[in-house]
């Protein structure tokens, strides 16, 4: 799987590259600033790109802008955004095209390689992965309002994991329950939130995120 890494800090860039190589990824290229990222994304067409939000030259949100521009030119180009902080505003912009193939994670998540590489593969497959912190913010905002309040604690837990982009299997493993129990929770959640049931994992994530972010 070919990956492009956009990160201006040398240590982190090399660390990421060696970590990914260890897990069998193929590093198609590494870049350190916004303009060259956009060029690399368009020319190299990687299977997935790892992009730091803040990049030179201006050190603002060049990485994000370059990723959004590349996805405008190549719809659905899988991009995993890394940042030291997460903003719902940016999450909303990433999800706006509903095309999938999007991830938005805190840089800390890299510490847990399996979860990180899982997320990278999900994004590369066209899935959607949101950082638990983004999801927590979405749920916190909805806490005072219906219909999320109608969910049981367990259902809210499951909802959060769905929103993060996890499959039923991963959720079951995480909560130490059976797959069947998870799908039962899912049915119940979707009914309570008036969402159309969906077998497709990615459609399901997008629907939940859209609902929470509305």
């Amino acid at each position: 799987m070919r990956v492009v890494i956009a990160e201006d800090l040398f240590l982190l860039r090399e660390g990421l590259a060696s970590l990914l190589k260890e897990h069998g990824f193929d590093i198609a290229g590494t870049v350190g600033d916004g303009p060259s990222l956009l060029r690399a994304l368009i020319e190299l067409r990687p299977d997935v790109a790892i992009v730091d939000v803040r990049l030179p030259p201006a050190h603002t949100d060049e990485g994000l802008r370059a990723a959004l521009e590349a996805r405008r030119q190549v719809p659905g180009l899988p991009v995993l955004i890394l940042s030291t902080h997460v903003e719902r505003l940016y999450a909303r912009e990433l999800l706006a095209d509903q095309a999938g193939g999007v991830g938005y994670l805190l840089k800390d998540r890299v510490f847990t390689d399996e979860q990180f590489t899982d997320a990278l593969r999900t994004v590369a497959r066209g899935g959607t992965v949101m950082d638990p912190e983004v999801v927590a913010k979405l749920l916190a905002r909805r806490a005072s309002q219906s219909p999320v309040t109608r969910l049981t604690d367990r259902e809210r837990e499951v909802l959060a994991l769905i929103a993060e982009g996890r499959s039923n299997g991963a959720i079951a493993q995480r909560l130490v329950v059976s797959d069947k129990a998870v799908s039962k929770h899912c049915t119940s959640i979707f009914a309570k939130l008036d969402l159309p049931p969906s077998g497709d994992d990615n459609r399901r994530v997008l629907a939940v995120l859209a609902h929470l972010d509305s």
Binding site: R54, R65, T84, L89, Y90, D108, R141
Partner: protein, 528 residues
């Protein structure tokens, strides 16, 4: 009759001084003070004598007045001393009145001090003596600090001192005699020598002139003095014209010179003398008045500007002090957060790794557990650093500017927020940060206290003023004086001359308005 008035005046003064003296308990201190006071008081005797002589000499008043004066000197030396200036002033007034009765044709004989007045011829000498007495009385009044001395002093200071307006009142007062002379020359039958105007017109013109003169003197001394100088020069020159061309110009009055009334018209040299005096006064006053026009701005403007600047300096001093204070407190907080948070976590992390290294050869499983712990520590350190950074300068504000930062803020608020953001450019970072944290504080208050169902944030910019308004439909009753949060917002904004206004009646709604003067730069252009 006149003497009775003078006597009444003197008695009035005595009563006044006695009453005032009775209220005062302190006595003159030391022998020297006593003698000195008594010495001044002795003057009361010749005054009483003179008054009695003027009254005609035959009266039984002489012993009575002398006795009273002696009693005052003996038993109340300070009181006697204080009475002296009033006596002198009284005699001076009497002299003026005497002179005026002679002028009216009175012929009775009166001994006025050294002058044996019998007819009109003696009036000049009587007046001169009266003037001397008046000056001496006034001087003593000030010297002894007798009751109206303060008033006299204040008045003289006001008219003679050059004071804050730059030109002495006395100089400005020249305008009154100048106006008077012009009025005389404009008088009926005396219109600069031509019979051109009737009495009513002249009176109206006189009134207007006098009014204008008074307004000028009290509104602007500099302008009054300028006009006075100009008037003095013109009128003085006019006096010389009359003196040289007389009798070509028909007869009229010029100042004290009466050129019209035969049988005894004033000599022409008196006109020339008056003209010369006026010219001299004009030449003396003109440069003094002009100096102010050349060097000074109009005084009221200067004063207003000075007041403004003083106020500005006070505000700046206060806000600078607050800003430095706030910055210092903020740095202290950051230092403490780093010390207790990230630094402590990193120490723990190092220790875990150290222990793991030691355990690896013997107990790899325990070592792995320690490494996991270290990872957890670094995660927590990152979280804490993230929160700290957000508090120092929100990343989204640095990335996207004020409007998007407020949008992000709205998204993080657990309430429906209606946004109306209309910002045609970018706000400079320090102001943006102040406004951002102010709005954040307002939103936090709404969430915590107001019990609101919805919030509306408006952001707009017009004519150099950035305006943010946060409106909620909560319970109201917010007061910047109560919570330290809003007071902090006020201080934060004051650094940029910004203001916070809160309208929060009980029952709501609460409207919070922030206004900061600032410039906008052109909108940020994407670098990609």
């Amino acid at each position: 009759m006149l003497f009775a008035i003078v006597l009444l005046l003197t008695i009035g003064c005595i009563v006044f001084v006695v009453v005032r003296e009775a209220k005062r308990t302190s006595r003159p201190d030391g022998l020297r003070g006593r003698i000195r006071d008594r010495g001044w008081g002795l003057l009361l005797l010749p005054i009483a004598m003179a008054a009695a002589v003027m009254a005609g000499g035959a009266h039984g008043l002489i012993p009575a007045e002398l006795g009273l004066a002696a009693l005052a000197i003996g038993f109340a030396p300070k009181l006697a001393a204080k009475l002296v200036p009033y006596g002198l002033l009284g005699l001076a007034i009497f002299g003026v009145m005497l002179a005026s009765t002679y002028n009216d044709g009175n012929t009775s004989q009166v001994q006025y001090l050294f002058v044996h007045a019998v007819s009109r011829g003696a009036t000049e000498l009587v007046l001169a003596e009266a003037a001397l007495l008046f000056v001496a009385g006034l001087w003593l009044l000030l010297r002894l600090d007798a009751p109206p001395a303060g008033l006299v002093r204040a008045l003289t200071a006001r008219w003679l001192g050059s004071g804050r307006r730059g030109i002495a009142g006395a100089q400005a007062l020249f305008l009154i005699p100048v106006a008077g002379l012009i009025m005389q020359l404009l008088g009926p039958g005396n219109w600069f020598g031509w019979q051109a105007i009737d009495g009513l017109d002249a009176a109206l013109m006189d009134l207007t002139l006098l009014g204008a003169a008074l307004v000028l003197i009290f509104r602007s001394r500099v302008w009054a003095a300028t006009l006075a100088a100009a008037g003095l020069l013109v009128l003085g020159a006019y006096g010389w014209v009359i003196a040289v061309f007389w009798p070509v110009v028909p007869g009229f009055e010029y100042g004290f010179a009466d050129l019209r009334n035969s049988p005894a018209p004033s000599p022409l040299w008196s006109v020339a003398l008056e003209g010369s005096i006026l010219l001299a006064a004009g030449l003396w006053l003109a440069p003094r008045a002009m100096r102010h026009h050349l060097t000074d701005l109009p005084d009221p403007e200067l004063a207003a500007r000075a007041r403004q600047l003083t106020q500005r300096v006070q505000t700046l001093t206060q806000t600078r002090h607050d800003a430095v204070d706030t910055a210092a407190a903020e740095l202290r907080r950051i230092e403490r957060d780093l010390h207790d948070g990230a630094q402590a976590r990193l120490v723990a992390l190092g220790m875990s790794l150290q222990a793991a290294q030691r355990l690896f050869p013997t107990n790899p499983e325990a070592a792995l557990a320690l490494v996991a712990e270290a990872k957890e520590s670094s995660s927590l350190a990152l979280t804490e650093l993230r929160d700290l950074v957000r508090g120092i300068y929100p990343p989204v504000l640095a990335d996207r500017g004020l409007a998007d930062a407020i949008r992000a803020l709205a998204l993080d608020t657990p309430l429906p927020v209606e946004l109306d953001l209309d910002l045609p450019g970018e706000v400079e970072l320090p102001v943006a940060s102040a406004v951002y944290f102010s709005v954040a504080e307002a939103l936090a208050n709404v969430t915590k206290h107001a019990g609101a169902r919805a919030v509306r944030i408006q952001l707009s910019y017009s004519s150099g003023m950035l305006r943010a308004q946060v409106t909620d439909d909560g319970a109201g009753g917010a007061d910047p004086a109560l919570g330290s949060g809003l007071a902090g917002v006020e201080r934060r904004l004051a650094t940029f001359d910004g203001i916070l206004a809160v309208s929060s009646p009980p029952g709501g709604p609460t409207i919070l308005v922030i206004e900061v003067p600032c410039a906008l730069s052109s909108p940020k252009i994407s670098s990609c």
